[in-house]
Symmetry: C2
Subunit: 542 residues, 2 copies
């Protein structure tokens, strides 16, 4: 009988964008790749994030991180809590980000650094990190080979191919080709994020430089820029242009300052000291100020939003300001962001977005870039990952039409890819497991509690407490609170009081539970007749 040589099971990130986490298992080894969070896909009322359900995951010995984005590292605190002996491996910059994050949340944990050129050895397989480009430094794909070196998975989560960038090496195809040349079964697991994009070849970070150069030149007065804080190479472009145009760069917002500091502490930013100034120490004419704002997604508590609506204590939008939006709206944030552009417009600012000029490039591959990866790795099988299920389907169609040499496989979270020792690939259908909702101090909030919260928010709430007479037959006293209800009822509490007084006359309290329920129904009906909806009603009879 054929035994399983290697098994790969994504527990997050396939069928959804976010919460990337993949389980790799041999006979003797179990490891995880990445531990990311998912942002809520609908309004969950300030919920921080979601993570994959860790309940049924076998205990992994190692967690290998591909890069430092939140959808790859954000759930680490939960993973190390669940598996307290796990060894976490990350590149130096990524490790720096993880450490800062864990310390900020008072959950420090040791992170082991790995170098790009080092092979990670396990009992059943080896892992070679392959340098790729993306929108954050030190991103890798992982070439996972069984010990016989017949079978290889190239697991490449987020990437792009950037041959022009001046900040890092291009995608290391040479190493990939060299290390994979003897493989018989070559399986590619690969990013689907931009499969529906009209841009088939993702532009280089380098392509932005002349555009920004021109915008810096043209700016009448201050320049405000918002972008993803983790895009260190983009920030390095701003620093270089500040130096050229004799401007000062002022990072504003916790995350912008924190990412810049992490990169600087690792010596990644040559002109940091002469160009970057903290807001409180900056002097000189404001026309030489370039202010970098975090919160490019219009986050409710973000610095960019606060600036736009005039609530930032240090910087207010003025009619001579130029505001550059060097980022794209993550789906779901479009309207939030466009409302902020309106605010800037009303203040008279010159606003430039990525649809006006090329001031943002993606960190993910277009269709031509994917084709290039296929041509270089020459996979026998391709498994699209990292994308909504619609993207995964589109990616499958794309493979069929452009790379018929490989067999595409459609999987979603929790499906398991099993390669047996005769190098056959099987897919075991997994069941759909909902991600876990996290709120506050890392606490799990159950899905039905979200419904409870939604009901409170959609209908308002009535609390009524009754004190019965000593005979426990009549109401001696009562009190009520109306929450989230319109003034048409709150300014007319007398009417509700009268309704209750009349109601209490007719009833006794022999069966308190029954009376409570009848009263609750009557109160909901009372408000429904006035409002057209029924507030959530809670009654205590004491």
């Amino acid at each position: 009988m054929n035994k399983a040589l290697l098994k790969i099971k994504p527990v997050g990130g396939v069928g959804q964008i976010g919460s990337n986490m993949t389980l790799i298992q041999g006979a003797n080894d179990t490891i995880l790749i990445d531990a990311g969070i998912l942002f809520p896909y609908e309004d969950f009322f300030d919920i921080n994030y979601l993570i994959p359900n860790l309940e049924d995951i076998p205990t992994p010995s190692h967690l290998v991180i591909t890069h430092g984005h939140e959808d790859h590292i954000g759930a680490i605190a939960h993973v190390v809590k669940k598996f307290p002996n796990i060894k976490v491996l990350a590149s130096p910059f990524t490790a720096g980000l993880i450490r800062k994050k864990l310390e900020f949340n008072h959950t420090p944990y040791p992170i082991t650094e790995y170098k790009h050129f080092e092979q990670l050895g396990f009992k059943d397989f080896t892992i070679d990190p392959i340098h790729v480009n993306h929108s954050i430094p030190e991103t890798v794909g992982l070439l996972i080979k069984d010990v016989s070196e017949q079978l290889g998975f190239f697991f490449i989560s987020d990437f792009k191919i950037d041959e022009k960038t001046i900040y890092e090496r291009p995608f290391d195809f040479e190493k990939l080709i060299k290390l994979s040349k003897n493989l018989k079964k070559r399986i590619l697991l690969c990013d689907s994020t931009n499969i529906t994009s009209k841009t088939t070849q993702t532009p280089s970070e380098q392509d932005l430089i002349p555009i920004f150069d021109n915008l810096f030149k043209e700016a009448q007065n201050r320049i405000f820029i918002t972008c993803f804080s983790s895009n260190i190479h983009r920030l390095m472009t701003f620093i270089a242009l500040c130096k050229k145009h004799n401007k000062k760069l002022i990072p504003h917002g916790r995350s912008m300052i924190s990412y810049l500091n992490t990169a600087n502490e690792l010596g990644m930013i040559p002109d940091y000291a002469s160009v970057v100034k903290m807001a409180e120490s900056v002097t000189g004419s404001s026309e030489n100020h370039v202010i970098l704002l975090s919160g490019c997604q219009g986050d409710f508590r973000g610095t960019f939003r606060r600036f736009c609506i005039g609530e930032d204590s240090q910087f207010k939008p003025q009619s001579t300001d130029t505001v550059l939006m060097s980022s794209k709206a993550i789906p779901g944030n479009e309207k939030k962001i466009s409302m902020l552009i309106n605010k800037l417009s009303e203040a008279g600012c010159k606003v430039v977005t990525g649809s006006d000029q090329l001031i943002h490039v993606s960190g993910h591959p277009g269709r031509d870039d994917l084709k290039r990866l296929y041509d270089n790795f020459k996979p026998t099988d391709i498994i699209p990952i990292h994308g909504e299920s619609y993207f995964i389907r589109e990616h499958i169609e794309f493979i069929k039409s452009t790379y018929p040499l490989a067999t595409p496989h459609y999987i979603l979270n929790n499906d398991e890819i099993v390669i047996t020792n005769d190098l056959k690939l099987n897919i075991l259908d997994g069941e759909t497991i909902d991600p876990i909702i996290i709120h506050g101090r890392g606490i799990v909030l159950e899905k039905e509690k979200i419904s409870e919260r939604r009901k409170l928010a959609c209908n308002g709430s009535v609390f009524l407490s009754l004190k019965l007479t000593s005979t426990r037959m009549k109401v001696e006293k009562f009190n009520f609170s109306l929450m989230g209800l319109p003034t048409i009822v709150t300014l007319n509490e007398e009417r509700f009081k009268k309704f209750l007084d009349n109601y209490f006359i007719q009833i006794n309290f022999k069966d308190i539970e029954k009376t409570n329920e009848e009263l609750r129904v009557a109160i909901r009906k009372y408000f429904d007749q006035i409002l057209g909806y029924k507030p959530i009603t809670t009654i205590h009879i004491l």
Copy 2:
């Protein structure tokens, strides 16, 4: 001294998309154009809609409606309630829609029909409806002229220029030119919705026909289509293609059936009887079924959403189905819709969207279309309306660069355009007035109540009631309810009880109000330590 000849004041729709409403005033006349609703610009928890604040609007004698979209007619019930003598004028089809809507909400009101060729006469001005194209039949622009016929406003809210359409006449430039030829001051108030669009000339409804023809031909089995129910011409295309391909059209969802019925009752749909079947009466092979679903924006209670997630009782998505999304996401709905596309993908349906093939065209003018309107009307002044404030600014820049013959004016809601009898144009800055939030049975919900609801939803809620002993010094009995809180506390109520018992030992109830507040703070702190956030806490001491 120069007296005001005519005044125009938009009270909604300028600086936001929606709630279109404009006040026209002469010395003796006050009328309103349109009375629309605004959809919430952030999650307001099931809030139905917003309307302009009607408080300070002088009593209008007439309300003239340009077309039957919700953002132009949705607030009529509120306007007629506030101004019970107002005469509402609309075209026959629009009047049909308004009547159905008011009857459905049990607020019937007489609607007077006007014909496209009739001039509406008032004391200080005349109004000539000018036929334009849009995405709903019987849309007009309004040419408003003072009695001396020196001054003319061409008020054109939503429109497109469609010369190929087979369903109606093209934009009636001829009438516009003829009736405006002697005007000295020519002011254009004009739609800005598509000013940021890359499509400079909006395609015709006609352009969709060959594409749909092909998709109907290729479909393996059933075809599901979702689109805006009010787009009667689009529905007529589907009916014509059903006839050609020998298929039956099944409208599904209240709004789809209602719009089709209104159009059919007015004799607008020739093949209705032979092609359109109600879902309950349909027979024959399902491969001949074209099912039209309402709710193309992924609305929570919409038929399209219900179908996608497999909760429609009649139709479930199958792998042989073709689903055509003949609409665009209204900003804010992108993610909701993409989640539904995922569901269809997972069911194996073939999904076609407007970004795959030309199966949707806009009802608003591209930049070339705007230019054509300017060239035909030859305005002396242009005032962009109908758009977010960012769009209004962009429209101003566009006018400057393409039509320097006209002076552009930047206004927002409640700014007033005053033309004096020497034909000078002045703009009086108005103050920003927030729109009114409507929930349930047309009831106003105050903004601070929305915050209350948001707090309940974001933090959960604790309700505690205490009964004091007869000496009123100690707690005799208490009860509490925890709402929207995670099981980590709800399954551990004993711990909270103990906390309360211990707390009650230390206190007396001399100053009940003070004790209540201290206890409230202590409870919030208790939960904050466990959860990292503070539930909204209400205490009744009886």
